[in-house]
């Protein structure tokens, strides 16, 4: 089949679909046509796929591949052949056969599964490959004498995926075990329960038309036997749950279930053995089956939520390369990560996951922090800058001094914040928990009252009504209403780079009426761009730019970088010589024999000795740079903090939702007004100190406005504390100190709108859940008490009620929800 099935007319990379940079497109002929690639890595991957005859991948896939990184192709996988390293994720089967559990990164559609399985199983020595589409795990079996694990991993990289060892201690494995146990319980309850049903139907028919008592007794005894099996194997979980609840003096939802089951079972057993009275074996097995099924669905939802988090939060490598110095020679040793300590130096090779937080001591590299931020472009980090555990070194080796390991890393902080939001007990949840406790107590007393009332009346429906009340009441719908929705929502949010750290955050966000933005770093990028050039002589502005760029090309100063960026590093046409740098002031240099000076206006003018003439220019020292030749100032560059491109749209969308928007900044009025005008914010509080900022928020709060404060979370921490919900555009390095309810870790302001939409969706789901839970119980319990609900109908009603809450919450997990 022809590769042309996927259009390659546009300048998107054939493999990963990212735009192809016009300046250095990679073109490569595959089969009969030339295709465009964004990088040599993608081209290599495509040709590996083509070479293996797996072109089908390109027609079958439903999503574009991940951008390959060329350097990963040269990654050193040999370490994975070490028995010590293999210990945690490789099993020895008989003979030389081994089996490794891997997690594949980059699986986006079913075609990826196919591609991996096909490609790997075609390798000599690989016995079987089994890729799980749901959780992206791969089980690979191979003959260790014919192929090495490192070769297999290399091959996976060759076709554009990344394989990590799978750590069985992971939460997913625990949930998996729980899930299998559940399936077995459901299977037993269903298989035995069906027999009970069949016999019960015969018994009901016998009640109607008459039945020999021998047969009736036989059927009832068989039912008793089967139901005992169901209760002992499948229903045990309710009894142990109830026992656990009672021991800690708490009325959980297992208590009425266990009580209802016991009463029904004991009464039916008595009826069977004494040969008189009604039996409820059918209701018992049905109830066990349905409640187990509802809980199984809930467990699956939790697994989905957990797997979203697992995919987002990477596994740290199990080993690292430590650098030791012995008598001035560097010594590299591979050690397990648990032996790493702060102060150690580690070598991180290209393609490796950084094992600990640290500071770069040597080298410059592009670091892919996408796992933490959702940002797909790598960021450059160099000497003295921080790197975080879990990010991937893309291109060149770096030496890192470890600052934090294990539980102290930013990655662990993220996990903890996430757990706080998911498990955190907001006042509301605590309240519903308490209510559920009272509710169970209430149900028990109602059941007791119902039993004694009907007994006193001498009615024989007392047993049926009591069982029905215990079974039909559904405290779980009540106590699941909020947590089920919250856990789905937080997982969903994280997928989009939104980290919700407190449970009340979504509720408060939706209620917010006033959105107050900090300027620097929030509405703007916090990075400087060249705004305008003011000419002071006859030299044209392009010429001034060229001269300035030539002088500044090697400078690290942010303003210098802004000039070079404007011109473009590759299009600097002039060459400056004799450059001398006066740090913090400016620099001088010669171009074509003429001496130029560039730098702070005060510095330049003092060199020219013309300080008196240009006093007007000495004000905005922070944002202006002057260029001069000999004794003549040529021009003045003015800089500005660049406004985030998505800002205007975000402001407009918030306005459409009738939110009041204001800007709150410590910057000067003129600059603030300019930014505000360009993005359509009318209310501007400029020149405000942190204390004044807090006063503004307090004032708004006093006017009974609900405020959402959006800032960087560091400098404006007190202000954010004053707002009813705080949102931080957080740099990953600051996650711990950013004291906000919601962190936009992808540094994309448009996530704010997504978070808002998710918030309103979550809140309406919670409200629906609560309304349902309350309405159901209010209607069902009285009906059961007056004997209108037979036990089997009660079993169905209760399970449908919890299933409604669980399924309704799981809508938040789906792709379309944001």
């Amino acid at each position: 089949m022809a590769l042309a099935a996927v259009t390659s007319l546009d300048l998107d990379c054939f493999h990963c679909g990212l735009p192809v940079p016009a300046t250095h497109a990679v073109r490569q002929a595959l089969s009969d046509q030339t295709l465009n690639f964004c990088c040599p890595g993608c081209a290599a991957v495509a040709s590996a796929i083509h070479g293996a005859g797996l072109d089908n991948y390109y027609s079958l896939r439903s999503e574009k591949g991940l951008k390959a990184n060329a350097e990963a192709l040269e990654e050193d996988f040999d370490i994975y052949d070490h028995p010590a390293v293999q210990q945690s994720f490789v099993r020895k089967l008989d003979g030389a056969t081994k089996e490794a559990a891997l997690v594949l990164q980059g699986i986006t559609c079913a075609a990826c599964v196919w591609l991996n399985e096909k490609h790997l199983s075609s390798l000599e020595g690989v016995e079987s490959v089994d890729v799980n589409y749901s959780n992206h795990q791969a089980l690979v079996r191979w003959d260790d004498t014919r192929i090495k694990l490192s070769d297999i991993l290399r091959e996976i990289t060759c076709i554009g995926y990344t394989a990590h060892p799978y750590d069985p201690n992971h939460r997913q494995a625990l949930l998996n075990h729980e899930r299998k146990q559940f399936l077995r319980r459901i299977g037993v309850a269903a298989a035995l329960g069906m027999q009970v049903m069949i016999l019960s139907v015969a018994l009901y028919a016998g009640d109607w038309w008459g039945m020999e008592s021998d047969f009736r007794d036989f059927f009832q005894r068989i039912c008793l036997l089967l139901t005992t099996g169901v209760l002992v194997y499948s229903g045990r979980t309710f009894f142990s749950g109830a026992w656990r609840d009672l021991r800690i003096g708490h009325l959980g939802m297992d208590v009425p279930i266990a009580l209802g089951l016991s009463i029904a079972f004991v009464a039916s057993t008595w009826a069977t053995l004494s040969g008189s009275g009604k039996i409820y074996f059918d209701s018992v097995v049905m109830f066990v089956l349905l409640v187990l099924a509802a809980r199984y669905v809930e467990l699956n939802n939790r697994m989905r939520a957990a797997s979203i988090i697992d995919r987002k939060i990477p596994l740290l490598p199990s080993s690292a390369t430590r650098i030791d110095h012995f008598s001035n020679t560097e010594h590299h040793s591979v050690i397990p990560c648990v032996e790493l300590h702060p102060g150690n130096r580690i070598l991180v090779k290209p393609g490796e996951v950084i094992a600990a937080d640290g500071i770069i001591m040597d080298g410059t590299a592009s670091i892919d922090e996408s796992i933490l931020t959702g940002e797909s472009l790598p960021v450059a980090r160099s000497l003295g800058e921080k790197v975080i555990a879990g990010s991937v070194n893309i291109d060149s080796p770096i030496k890192v001094e470890v600052t934090n390991v294990g539980q102290d890393t930013v990655l662990s902080d993220i996990e903890r914040l996430l757990q706080r939001a998911q498990n955190g007990k907001s006042k509301f949840t605590q309240l519903t928990d308490q209510i559920a406790g009272y509710f169970v107590a209430g149900v028990m007393s109602v059941a007791g009252f119902v039993a004694s009332y009907w007994l006193w009346q001498g009615s024989d429906i007392w047993l049926q009504a009591t069982i029905a009340v215990l079974i039909v009441s559904c405290p779980c719908a009540l106590s699941l209403a909020t947590p089920a929705a919250m856990s789905a929502a937080t997982s969903r949010a994280l997928k989009n780079g939104i980290l919700i750290t407190r449970e009340h955050a979504l509720e408060a966000l939706q209620a917010a009426t006033h959105f107050v933005f900090d300027k620097t770093g929030t509405l703007t990028k916090g990075s400087i761009v060249l705004d305008s050039i003011e000419l002071l002589a006859n030299t044209p502005d392009q010429r001034c730019l060229d001269i300035a760029a030539a002088l500044e090309r090697n400078s690290e100063h942010p303003l210098a970088k802004a000039i070079v960026t404007r011109v473009g590093m590759d299009s600097i046409s002039l060459v400056a010589t004799d450059i001398t740098n006066t740090p913090g002031e400016g620099m001088t240099g010669k171009i074509a024999g003429r001496a130029y000076i560039i730098g702070k206006p005060s510095f330049v003018l003092s060199v020219l000795d013309r300080t008196g003439d240009f006093n007007a220019y000495l004000q905005d020292e922070r944002t202006t740079v002057m260029l001069a030749v000999k004794s003549e100032p040529l021009c003045l560059f003015r800089f500005q903090d660049e406004v985030r491109p998505e800002t205007e749209q975000v402001v407009r969308m918030l306005k459409n939702k009738n939110k009041v928007i204001a800007m709150l900044t410590g910057d000067r009025q003129t600059i603030a007004d300019k930014v505000a005008n360009s993005i359509g914010i009318e209310t501007v509080y400029a020149d405000h100190t942190p204390v004044q900022k807090l006063e503004v928020i307090d004032e708004l709060n006093n006017q009974s406005a609900k405020t959402a404060m959006i800032g960087d979370g560091i400098n404006d921490a007190p202000v954010m504390g004053g707002a009813s919900v705080s949102i931080a555009m957080s740099d990953t390095a600051n996650i711990t100190s950013a004291n906000a309810d919601i962190l936009l870790i992808n540094k994309d302001l448009s996530s704010l709108v997504q978070a808002l939409e998710l918030a309103s969706k979550t809140n309406s789901v919670i409200r629906q859940n609560m309304v349902w839970a309350i309405a159901y119980n209010i209607i069902a319990i009285p009906l059961a008490a007056i004997g209108y609900v037979p036990p089997w109908a009660a079993a169905i009603g209760m399970s449908v009620s919890s299933a409604f809450v669980i399924l309704n919450s799981s809508r938040l997990l789906s792709e379309r929800s944001v």
Partner: protein
């Protein structure tokens, strides 16, 4: 009708066999991935035959 005393125990034995089969299926991972195999049927057919596979890449 006395045959029922035979048939019901037989039915129970069948149920035991079904449960045993189900337990085996769970243990051997039949329920681990419920999404992937649905797609795999779309993909496997052509390229097991090397001739067709060559043809594919030549087109």
């Amino acid at each position: 009708m006395e045959v029922i005393y035979l048939l019901i125990p037989v039915a129970l034995l069948l149920v035991v066999a079904i449960i045993a089969g189900f337990f085996w299926a769970i243990r051997s991972g039949q329920f681990d991935d419920l999404a992937g195999p649905a797609h795999s049927i779309l993909m496997d057919d052509e390229d097991t035959d090397p001739m067709i596979q060559n043809k594919n890449s030549q087109q």
